[in-house]
Symmetry: C2
């Protein structure tokens, strides 16, 4: 009907076919190539409306309980250019669009052969799409869409456009989808109208009821355990399918998480088998870990599989139940991701989806701590990737959230849970009212991160303001909560009255954030972390930080022993993925209950996968010293093991590490590497490079040649 609409409708039709046949992840980007662009954060906001609202609980829809924004339906992309001669461009848009050159609408043109006038001009594309995220691709020799284009939702604010891996003009961002692969199961029990099947391990996908015939109901009950599937309507998820004569079909459900499926059908219906389409985000296993302890290897591999199942459109908390993005959970997934897949896109997608649009009216996920993890997580992402463009893109929203948080601080400059705020910290019987010291610590760290990000985005006034606020707050925390009597941080202060209770949270984070001196670190270790009278942690979530803190203060053997017991305990109970919570004192089916429901607990929870991070960061010992691994440290640690080996991904390739009690082999990547190691006498390099002594039995070797294997003998 209009010239460009013909093209658009043909693009739209082709999407439908493409959806089933190809993955948008297959596209690789070469430099100076045109990309689909969109309003920053809005591809993610759009995707989140779909993913966030897919949760069901026992047959009932269960969307998130915080405000979920839609994408902006009308945006304008613009670019100033200066071309010596006219240039042919091709135009692709996901949505209706209007083209202006220097403010004048172009009425009649061929979108696949538009002649861009020579000289200095501004082109603008107003794209409208309220169903899918409006996006644009322009392909030309010198004029093509990328992150240098400007975009606005017409609110007088202009940002650089966002782009991702979408470079095929026929595959716009709205075609985003995960991959599918058929998987089969074994039938364990079968009767005239029931069947129990086992997929061998926890999995995720669309269920296929094979060769269904007749008319009536088919009921599918999903179980992470056999008990859950057999519990029928007490299972957390199930589907009731209407079968009818006219459509004997392979019925496909929405995606579900399960190992077992119990199916029950009316006598008027028959069914031959069950299978599934495993749905997954194609992820390259760049990171890797192996050691002389086979139990730790099993724990590593089960953790890796757990993480993989939860690393999808976004970093999900768990695949069975919430299937939501929780900022505190996601923060751990960002870090684990860096030691496994190094998939930057899923981190950025998650960060963008969590914040949504202005106005900020509540904390992220309604949780005070989760706003702070969101802020801190962005800086961690930057440290590993060196992606300053992302910081510049997200910074305006970081600032809105921080100003919202500061606007709710009390007269002492501390934050407390106000009406509508959830102070989470952990699933644990702890006090959550008043000025909880843990929240102040997260706020102080968030302010520090804000200051650094302000520095990266040319906002010196905010850099100074947030830096000063952070430093002041750090002092106030020490003054208010450090107890010289208990030699530890106290938990909270309510209406000016200090609680004498000591919990692990503030204390272990003070070590992790390096907010206390060595003396205090040792006190915290003795008085809190290794003190059995202090309330123990029963979630892998907080274990993440406790074990990391122990690693930071060189208690790695203890950490491994704990991992063997705690994670090994779950494996002993038959876990094929790591659980949301695990209390070794529980018995039998008690393990599966949570939130007052017999199978409420998630048995495949991302935060349980933290050994992949701990082993990479503290055993292989690799971490960035400057953003994007411009410089990095390798400090392998056997922690009592015979040998360890593995890979840690970086933006420039994988660092490979091998260590036994006599030799270390490090294969470097681009960037200034440093190897540090303990040795009873001076280590020896194969080809005699410089070894520097740092202290008693402690040495440093510069790994200054990229992509080279360094072999070091030590004692």
């Amino acid at each position: 009907m209009i010239f460009n609409s013909d093209i658009m409708s043909s693009i739209r039709i082709s999407f439908l076919f493409l959806l089933m046949t190809m993955s948008s992840f297959a596209q690789e980007i070469s430099p100076n190539q045109s990309k689909w662009i969109w309003y920053p954060g809005d591809f993610e906001v759009w995707l989140h409306t779909k993913v966030g609202c897919r949760r069901t609980e026992r047959g009932q829809p269960y969307p998130p309980f915080w405000r979920i924004d839609s994408h902006y339906g009308v945006v304008i992309f613009s670019k100033k250019y200066d071309n010596p001669r006219t240039e042919k461009i091709e135009i692709y848009a996901d949505g209706k669009y209007q083209l202006k050159v220097d403010g004048n609408i172009i009425y009649i043109f061929d979108p696949l052969n538009f002649q861009l006038p020579a000289g200095s001009h501004t082109i603008e594309f107003l794209v409208e799409n309220f169903i899918n995220v409006p996006s644009l691709m322009v392909k030309g020799e010198s004029c093509f869409t990328d992150e240098s284009w400007q975009v606005t939702n017409q609110n007088q604010k202009f940002y650089n456009a966002a782009a991702g891996r979408f470079t095929d003009p026929h595959v716009p961002p709205s075609t985003f989808h995960l991959s599918l692969k058929p998987v089969s199961c074994s039938i364990i029990e079968r009767s005239a109208n029931t069947m129990l099947v086992d997929f061998g391990k926890e999995t995720f996908g669309k269920v296929i009821a094979e060769k269904v015939k007749g008319a009536g109901k088919l009921r599918l009950y999903y179980g992470e355990t056999k008990q859950e599937a057999l519990a029928e309507t007490n299972a957390e998820t199930y589907d009731y399918i209407d079968v009818n004569y006219n459509s004997a079909r392979n019925d496909t459900t929405d995606t579900r998480a399960f190992r077992f499926i119990y199916s029950v059908w009316d006598s008027s219906v028959s069914i031959e088998n069950i299978s599934a389409l495993y749905e997954y985000l194609p992820l390259e296993e760049k990171g890797y870990f192996e050691c002389s302890d086979t139990l730790l290897n099993r724990i590593y591999n089960t953790s890796l599989y757990t993480l993989k199942l939860n690393t999808r459109e976004f970093h999900l908390d768990g695949i069975k139940r919430d299937r939501w993005i929780w900022s505190g959970d996601a923060y751990q997934s960002y870090l684990m991701n860096f030691y496994t897949f190094f998939d930057e896109e899923v981190n950025k997608r998650t960060i963008n989806a969590l914040i949504g649009h202005d106005p900020v009216e509540r904390h992220i996920n309604t949780i005070l701590d989760y706003s702070f993890y969101w802020l801190i997580g962005i800086y961690e992402h930057y440290i590993y990737t060196g992606d300053t463009a992302f910081i510049r893109q997200i910074y305006p929203r970081m600032k809105t959230l921080m100003e919202f948080s500061l606007g709710r601080s009390n007269k002492n400059g501390f934050v407390e849970g106000l009406p509508g705020d959830w102070v989470f910290i952990d699933w644990a019987p702890i006090e959550k009212t008043g000025e909880v010291s843990f929240e102040q610590l997260l706020l102080s760290r968030s302010l520090e991160v804000m200051s650094r990000c302000a520095g990266l985005t040319n906002d010196p006034a905010s850099e100074e303001k947030y830096g000063k606020l952070s430093a002041d707050l750090k002092q106030k925390i020490l003054a208010a909560f450090w107890s010289d009597k208990r030699n530890a941080f106290l938990h909270t202060r309510i209406n000016g009255v200090l609680s004498q209770n000591v919990t692990r949270y503030t204390n272990m984070f003070a070590i992790l954030f390096d907010y206390v001196d060595e003396g205090k670190k040792q006190m915290i270790k003795e008085n809190v972390i290794l003190n059995d009278t202090i309330l123990k942690i029963t979630t892998p979530y907080m274990k993440f930080y406790e074990l990391a803190a122990l690693c930071e203060i060189n208690e790695k053997e203890k950490v491994l022993q704990f991992v063997r017991e705690y994670w090994g305990g779950m494996l002993d109970l038959g876990a094929t993925t790591i659980w949301e919570a695990y209390d070794p004192t529980q018995k039998s089916d008690e393990h599966y209950a949570m939130y007052g429901r017999p199978f409420g607990k998630s048995l495949c929870h991302a935060w349980g996968a933290n050994p992949v991070y701990l082993f990479g960061k503290y055993l292989l010992g690799v971490k960035p010293l400057a953003p994007g691994f411009k410089s990095y440290l390798v400090e392998p640690s056997l922690a009592g093991l015979q040998w360890i080996k593995g890979r840690v991904p970086t933006p420039h390739g994988n660092i490979e590490v091998y260590a036994d009690r006599k030799i270390m082999k490090i294969k470097t990547v681009e960037g200034d590497g440093i190897l540090r190691l303990h040795s009873k006498k001076q280590p020896v390099m194969e080809k005699g490079a410089g070894v520097k002594k740092l202290g008693e039995n402690y040495y440093e070797i510069a790994l200054d040649i990229p992509y080279k294997e360094y072999i070091v003998k030590y004692w």
Copy 2:
């Protein structure tokens, strides 16, 4: 798959059929009946994403150039109830939903037979729908959805739910649509592959190309004039349709505005005729006007038809081109609506769609004056309808907009156009920079309105604050802009320097708002309004206010003479609807050009219909004296005519008025009516009720019996 989804999908399917067969306007509401409810303003926000983005210009899409919000996709409706016994309710939702009783999810239930437990409980429905506006209907004896339910988008703010005329459980708000009626045309010219048709008058609808055969292009060029249709791609709107052998069809286009259609087809295509489906909002013509002057009657009827064509999902500016909601234009439509259709819903829909969602980042339609018209318009709506519930619903958004406006005022408390603001005032060559006195006047009136609405919504602090700001500003305007030399308001002050220019805008609004004393009103009349050296107004838009101001100062004969010349001038040129602008000095096709395009001018523009308001308010002389016509004035005025008669709608029925030079007949409605009239001696009532003398030859009669015809003789 889930119990309630079966019901929902069957509801959804039935919608499709209903869409084509029935109108949602047919439903009438009886008290205590359950209604579909939604998040306040969001049905309108949702509808606006569709209506606002339908504009095309010469084949190109043309969405609005301000931020267009989507509705909230997830909302929670809740209600506390206290029932002596269990109650059966039926549940209907447009979207996936979750039901909680006292915070607990209900897992298995029949939505058409849910037993509400006895006692005191809270029920909550979380409804999710990102495509259509999430809405809910609960039908029960004592528990049913209406505006007493609470709703939140989960941002910690809770509002009363909104509802409208949707009371059929199978016809939720998302089925909203206008009505269709076939209309035909005459063929004026026909060749082998072209045809020019005439629908006899301007109309609006979907075009049907009848008995199209072959394969190739069919081009339809729309014209408000014959010239425009024949101008082909210089016409403001046209459609190119791909005809092919496989679908010889009655092809239906999107809705277009036209009187003439010029169609051109490829030689491989044939077509028999053109017809259309007239699309309209069913509106009752409650108001009516007729008089002894047939030209004025023609003007009234053409104005009424113009208003009808533009009164649709919302009050549109014009049907050919923008088809948008412009707040300044809509303000006039609200007022005209009260003297014609008294359709409260279209006013409320328009007001809601214009404001959208927080945050307010720009003025409404980007125009400074249009924010103020939005605020003032709400109060006018209240004055005519007495709808305090609507004030309570919209007040939070009024406050956000006013605070945004005040936040942009300068050190003098005056507003100026800041970057991104459009200072419109009128299509006229006038200065728009600096402290334009007209904008200050609108701000002062807006503050006054805010104060009154704060009073209606129990916000005494704001009532006082805004009231004081308004009074202060009024004084400051007089002090800054009234010139004792010119005896008029000056136009603007730029960087502290008063321009000596006098324009009509501030001066005539000062009369309309009653912001100056009688002495100044007379000075304004002589020095400005009746002064031909002051820049004349050439849009019916500003004529609206100028003529109303003249009526207010008793220059009604002059007003009628002007209406005859100006509106009559358009009729003489063959207008079947009233134009966006008319300059009698232009010649021939010059009349149709605007915005630099030969047919850019809208020839069917709502603001042109203002005689329907002027005649009803100032000739029939009916206006509310208290909100919702609780009391009202009737003061008929012949203004030189032999006789006038007509009806003015109120919430309680139509007031009927007849007057000639000897007699007046008034049929009353509920409310305290007052008749005022000039008579050379004391008027005489048919049945001898009390007549009060107000002044020299000026009398008042109480019309205190509702639905009675009062007959008054006078001299």
